[in-house]
Symmetry: C2
Subunit: 132 residues, 2 copies
DNA sequence: ACTAATAATAGTAATTATTATTGATTGTGA
DNA sequence: TCACAATCAATAATAATTACTATTATTAGT
């Protein structure tokens, strides 16, 4: 049985209040402002539970640290290869991807993730080249 | 300058000889059969280097452990939500995904990953339901 | 409202995956 | 062949996550 806790509510509220895709550390420090003695384990436990119950989304980014998204609708992300920043992609591809025909796995879903260099990192890169 | 090492060659050979998508531990134990005193650090270092130089592909699966793929062409994977098994998907979607129009990031690429329940895990699931 | 049952918590220890360090060894261009 | 940087094995260190335990808080039933 799942019962209320103000810690979990606070975590969910935070994720719903931002458009970024924070990692656990960021979530921890933000929620700490509301509940100063919250424990990191509590944050992990509740994030997993919220993701399990579909109230938030766990993102797999490859930046060896879990990131979370308050949006639960199907959408894509673009991740910067340099700085690891994550942004939403609004274009919808679902009409092009017919899940049934893909494989013999059941309950199929998909994740479409883009990787690139964000404008800020591109600018830095160019500055470096011009200076050398 | 990159120079030859039998350890790296052995790792690459192993990855090219299998169609599965092993994690570091599996690669380590397999390569150990050829080179018994190889060090785990060496496996990590060479996997990163091989991935960097594009000879193999690092997979981001969410099963908090890196997996690697000897295939370097653009293809998709399907991952079982239960047991974490990874398999190749042959269908090509690239014609549906126009990278340029996606975002203001440069050097864009994408990863399309499917999640589902594999036939084996489905069967287990059904057996469980029938027994209870 | 009171209480018993137990889910959730804080704090901390343990685990797991990965990277860094170090000093010895080895491959390669000169 | 020789000099030297790349690579190695072994091990220590770090980072991310999970597990443990005694305490606190929520909830269902009275």
């Amino acid at each position: 049985m799942i019962r209320y806790s103000k810690q979990r509510e606070c975590i969910l509220n935070y994720l719903n209040s931002v458009t970024c895709h924070p990692n656990v550390e960021k979530i921890y420090t933000e929620v700490k402002k509301e509940i100063p003695n919250i424990s990191l384990g509590t944050v992990y436990r509740n994030l997993n539970q919220l993701a399990e119950s579909g109230k938030i989304q766990k993102l797999i980014t490859g930046n060896n640290a879990e990131h979370y998204d308050g949006r639960t609708d199907l959408h894509s992300h673009v991740i910067c290869r340099k700085c690891g920043k994550i942004e939403d992609i609004c274009t919808d591809f679902s009409e092009h991807i017919e899940l049934e025909s893909i494989s013999d796995y059941s309950n199929l879903s998909y994740k479409l993730t883009f990787y690139g260099i964000c404008p800020e990192c591109s600018r830095e890169e160019n500055a470096k080249i011009n200076n050398s």
